[in-house]
Structure formats: C-alpha cells, structure tokens
Homo-oligomer: 154 residues x 2
C-alpha cells in the first residue's frame, strides 16, 4: 500500500484500539486533509450511548465544522467497510477517497460509493480483521446492535 | 394527511422552530415507535458545532440506543427531505417509513430510500417550506455548509 495510506490507517487502528480499551467496538477512523489529520474518532455506541457515532461519524464530528472545499480535498480512513449511514455522510460531504481497513467482517455500501464517483480502496488489513473477529466472538449482541441486526436478545 | 402524521409532523416542526430560535437551521425531526415519540431533535450545526447532527440524526441520538426491532417498527418524521447521511441512517436501522415535511427546498435521497423498500411520504407542508425559505434568504452560507455545497465564502 502507499506509504501515506499505511500511516493514516495506523492512526485509525490506534483509534479502534482506544475504542476497545474503553469498552466499546474496535472501529476507528481518521479524516485527513492534505496529509494532515483533521479529526480522529472511534465508535461511541457504548462509551457515549450513541447510535449515530460510528467511528467515521465520530472522526467527522471531532473534525468540527469545515468548509465544503475541505471535505472535497480529504481522504477518510476507516478500519471497517462503512455502513449506509457513514457512506451517506461521505456522499453528503463529497469526500472523494475512502480507504478501508477490511470488508470481510462487514461489507458496507462500497458499491453505492463507487457508483457516485467515490474512490474506494480496500487494504484487507489483518489487524483490522482480527480486532473485529475477537470483539464479535465476545460480544455478538453489541455487534448486531451496531449494524441494526436483530440478535438473540433484541 | 392521516391524523397521526399531522400530529407528529407538528412535533417535528416545533423542533425546527426551537432550532431557529436557538440560532440554528430550522430543520426538526421526531422518531416515533407505536405512536409514541422515542426521540426529538433539530439540526445542531450551529448550537453544538456539529457537522453530523442534522435534525434526523439528533432525533436518533436523543432516542438513545434501541434494539433493532424498535427501529424496524418506527416512523421517522422530518421537516425536510433527508440528505444522504440521514437517509443512510434510515437504511442502517431499517426504519420502514419516513414522513417528509417538504422536498421543494432540497431533494434528498428519496429515490434511494424507495429503491431499498422504504415507504416515503411527502406532505409538502407549507410551514416547513416557509421556515426554510426565510432561513436561507437570511443565511445562505450556513445552508450551503449544511448540505456540503461550496458557497461564496467556502
């Protein structure tokens, strides 16, 4: 992978690990403008009781309000393929490039993004995958809740 | 319109007015489960400096974490046609019915929602439309920012 992709995916993975260490889902994201991280985030379902702060949304939130042009020159890094909500945020702000850690655990709206002209790069990073597999094995109900799927207890 | 749609759209309009009165965009939303409001919200771009809390997202956030089945039995009311991000949230949580105040000011992802099986009902409510028109006339830059469009100052 390109060196810059590797560096920024490492930052997203660090966020995923912070998420896990604080009792939540190990999904992290950073938004990068001209090689500078504007915002970092991780899934906040458990920590903030939030149904909307997926990793990507938390990164966008932490980047605060930005002019439209900034998003349009940015790259979003996320450890897991983006769900419909996060993909919609990418389309809203016309973020042109999305770099995804892995999509074996969950296939998000990559086809929709590509159909709207977004460049989607999937790294199939093994650490991203292992983080999710370990989490889901231990917390299947929480994972189902995060992707809107009815689990055993829902 | 059906009586229940009228009642809950009034609640969404009240939220839009709270948004306007607190210096923000006049877009409001409520999520309703079995005729009971689970969460109310309005656009929080100005008030919380948030790029992700559109009215619909704020209503979902205020409804807190819910089991998947609850979303799948709910109706989302929003004063303005939902943007890609909010439409994506509707798809993530499989909310089956969306009632929209108006889509003349902004046409959101109604076709995408319908293509995924969501029932989309547009009321073309004049008060929703007038709130937006008055706001945009006074604050064009803020409106452009909210929908990710480059304005004069972006």
């Amino acid at each position: 992978m390109a060196m810059s992709h590797e560096i920024f995916m490492r930052a997203a993975i660090e966020e995923a690990k912070i998420g896990m260490q604080t009792g939540g889902l190990p999904i992290g994201s950073v938004i990068v403008h001209r090689n500078q991280i504007l915002g970092r985030g991780h899934n906040q379902r458990v920590q903030k009781g939030s149904p909307v702060l997926h990793g990507e949304m938390d990164a966008l939130e932490n980047a605060k309000r930005q002019p439209a042009i900034v998003y349009q020159e940015s790259v979003l890094y996320t450890t897991l393929s983006p769900c419909p909500m996060c993909s919609g945020a990418i389309l809203l702000y016309k973020i042109p490039v999305v770099v995804i850690g892995e999509n074996k655990t969950f296939m998000g709206e990559e086809n929709l993004l590509r159909s709207r002209g977004v460049q989607v790069i999937v790294l199939q990073d093994d650490e991203c995958y292992q983080l999710m597999q370990q989490f889901i094995a231990a917390n299947p109900t929480l994972w189902n809740e995060d992707i809107g799927v009815r689990g055993d207890h829902a």
